[in-house]
């Protein structure tokens, strides 16, 4: 619990409008998309690095924990105030500071919503590719802190590939700048990369400098249906082997298609066992050619349907299949564990096969879809928590899914992070020495362990 004196000091820093501690506020800043819940003692809405710095200095002095929070759309509980403390929300820091069309960089505050930023740069003919499915509501600060990715990662990469520099308030309150806006730069350690994906444990991001690209001339969307999962998986590696890098290679397995079809009746062919949604972008003539090449390459792999969108409206129609996945999953079972393992692209068929075995062994539905182009599969373990024993079964199955990914040279999480949800499994992936090195970094930057304590690294 925070005493009245600390609350008073926090109020002086952010102003009485921007601090809240009513039961209603505490409840509404105690959840995120994991559906776990931990109530904070108070919520602050600072504006700018100076206020953030003062809050962190006070926290060090008084010894209370601080939890950075963007939109609270995280899938692993990174923003949750476990154990109580102060939630520091970035909503007010939501300005796009500048978009530099000469150097193709932009500087933003962390609370800007991803889509707002994308639209702003697109108006100037520029492109910010990272496109997590949560882009309409997630914040850029949250994206950097989780190193969010999306369907376009196949060609363009993930959030960290676009971060050139940061302004960060360290856990002890010092404000530093990392990186910069030059294309090159090697002076000192690369703290920018260290902060990307650090889940709010090493500093509060208060400004971000992003690299931008020219907006692609055109794009082409294709929906392809295969008669086997293997065919779809081989299609992925065949396309890439032939030196075509699509923007997007989204994959949906049979269980996913059944869900979508049952609810929305999209008229996918009965013989379809897997779908690949493929998108290419770039020069208009080039992508026409690429689309033709792709068709030829995947034709022999058990292709049962190949649809190309003629215009933006048709492209939207094809994307609908992918967008409807999430709402239709509930029909399988009310509760889901959404994991996001990654394997080397060529191992996608193997990992899917191993998941099928796990599914049979535990007798719980597992629905797979995701970004096959970069080997990132969303494994959805669907259970009904009310049924006794299901939850335990799910945990065991998750462990085995992670093991499968690791055995194949992959990782437990491609984009959702560790937070609280995946913490127990960390020793499966990281060695004791790796963890020790990470803990040393954390301890050096945050000696009193006040910034987002208890997250990511096993305690």
């Amino acid at each position: 619990m925070l005493d009245a004196r600390i609350l008073q000091q926090l109020t002086e820093i952010v102003g009485s409008e921007n601090i809240a501690a009513t039961p209603q506020d505490l409840i509404c800043y105690g959840y995120d998309a994991t559906q776990m819940e931990f109530l904070p003692d108070c919520v602050v809405h600072p504006d700018g690095s100076e206020e953030v710095s003062r809050i962190l200095k006070l926290a060090n002095q008084e010894g209370f924990p601080v939890f950075p929070r963007g939109a609270g759309s995280g899938f692993t509980g990174g923003a949750l105030p476990k154990g109580g403390g102060v939630v520091l929300v970035t909503t007010r820091m939501n300005r796009i500071l500048r978009i530099d069309t000469d150097n193709l960089v932009a500087e933003v505050e962390p609370g800007v919503v991803t889509e707002t930023f994308q639209m702003a740069v697109e108006k100037l003919g520029l492109f910010y590719p990272p496109d997590p499915a949560s882009l309409k509501f997630s914040t850029l600060g949250g994206n950097v802190a989780e190193c969010a990715g999306g369907p376009r990662a196949v060609k363009y990469g993930v959030t960290k590939d676009f971060v050139m520099g940061l302004e960060v308030v360290l856990p002890t309150g010092e404000v530093i700048r990392t990186g910069g806006e030059t294309v090159k730069g090697v002076v000192g350690y690369d703290l920018t990369k260290l902060i990307c994906g650090s889940e709010g444990t090493l500093g509060v991001i208060t400004k971000i400098i992003f690299k931008l690209l020219p907006y692609p001339d055109a794009k082409k969307t294709m929906l392809t249906v295969f008669d086997s999962i293997d065919g779809a998986a081989r299609a992925v590696s065949t396309i890439i082997k032939n030196k075509i890098i699509p923007t997007t290679l989204e994959f949906m397995d049979h269980a996913t298609l059944t869900c979508v079809e049952r609810r929305f009746n999209l008229g996918l062919p009965d013989s379809g066992r897997a779908v690949l949604l493929i998108e290419v972008d770039g020069d208009r003539e080039l992508i026409e050619k690429q689309a033709g090449q792709i068709h030829k390459l995947i034709e022999p792999l058990g292709l049962v349907q190949f649809r190309v969108a003629k215009d933006a409206a048709e492209s939207e129609e094809l994307w609908r299949v992918r967008r409807l996945v999430s709402p239709s999953l509930r029909d399988v079972n009310p509760d889901k564990f959404n994991e996001d393992i990654v394997v080397p692209r060529s191992k996608v068929p193997d990992v899917i096969r191993r998941i099928e075995v796990i599914q049979k062994r535990y007798d719980i539905p597992i629905v797979n879809f995701g970004h096959a182009g970069d080997g990132n599969i969303h494994v959805n373990i669907m259970i009904d928590k009310r049924v006794p024993g299901e939850l335990e079964k799910a945990h065991e199955a998750i462990k085995e899914v992670f093991q499968a990914a690791l055995d194949l040279g992959g990782t437990m999480s491609g984009e959702h992070g560790v937070g609280l949800a995946k913490q127990p499994y960390i020793p499966m992936e990281l060695s004791a020495d790796q963890v020790a090195a990470m803990k040393a970094i954390k301890a050096a930057l945050d000696p009193k362990n006040i910034l987002n304590p208890g997250k990511m690294l096993p305690v």
């Binding site: 039961p23 209603q24 309409k136 509501f137 709402p327």
Partner: protein, 426 residues
Amino acid sequence: MTKKQIDPLERVAAEMKKCVKCGACRAHCPAFSTFQREPATARGKVALAQHLCKGDITLDDGTYSAMSKCLLCGSCVEKCPNQVPTDEIVIAAREALAQRRGLTTFHKAVGQVIKNRKVMNFGALAAAVLGPLFFRKVPATSGLRLRFPMPFLGGSRHIPQIAKKPFMKRHPEVIQGEPGKPRIVFFVGCMTNFVYTEIGEATLALFRHLGCTVIIPKGQQCCGLPGMSGGDLDTVRELAEMNLAAMEAHEADYVMTACATCGGALHKLYPLVVGKRNPELKQRLQALADKTVDAAVLLQKLGLAPEETGAGAGMRITYHDPCHHRTAGITKQPRALLNKTPGLELVEMEGADRCCGLGGTFNVYHYESSLDINASKSAAIIATGADAVVTGCPGCIMQLSDGLKQAGDKTKVLHTVELLARKMRR
């Protein structure tokens, strides 16, 4: 909390569980867009309602204030990946609140007034005579303001003129049309009856042009939506029954309304708020709901040819979707009618489907926020360079006019029927 107070929330308990706290509603909730705080989002309200059920928080001022920050616009419901009916959850929470704390003075006044058209006539008359002067002389805090029947008073807002003679007083109950043509019951609604009588006149002219018999039942009341905003569902139920009786008294093919809000009440709210304990009433209200149709939709269905009404005359317009139309799937029909009208150029504004910020009594409690939501609407309208913004709800008309006036803009605000009947004899 007693059983009775929890009751309304129990009704939606299963629905609340569907919310996975993903946060998608942050992108679509106009209340969040203005307050920028999590308790104003749909998921915040759902979380609070869940804690209410568990008894972790009480129906105190804090919860009351959070629940008041909802326009009941339904955007979150449409966009929610899990179809969580936050609007229904908020209605239930407000009812629980009202049962526990009693209604606020304001909502009590609203309830009393909307339940009795006689009081309303008196109030409307007084207001028409005294005009806006009346309000300038009464301080904002005065209880006198609450006597005024229209629940939409606020500081600097532009109050529309009240009609000298209510629409229903000007017409007989039955206006006979041609034999064999549809018989239509007209649910007028307060805004049309007392303020925007020209919408009523235009509606009448158009359906008479089609040869329909139009019946304006004398016993009809306020639809009750202003009561619902405050959690006064008992008043809504009472009004539902009175309106049902008034409508049922006449043999008709359709129950038609030119107000999106009234349409929403008849179409969705009435069957929703009457519980399973009264199956017979629920069934009759459902039958009424099934018969209810929006004026523009019906005009299109009955084959109105806009070129015959002489509505045209080179005009650039843009169309605003009232929330109660959008959520009922009424977006294409009014546009189709307008597009068929010679000389009219329809340009779409950015975010035509976004709420105007009125939200029942939301704008009484949160006038500044309501204006803030409205400001982006006004900007989008002005950006189209249209001569007029057209819509299907008198409530939106009032809000849009207010916003445009505050922005110092002269764009006209018209109801679809007004535009279509522009050149017709009344």
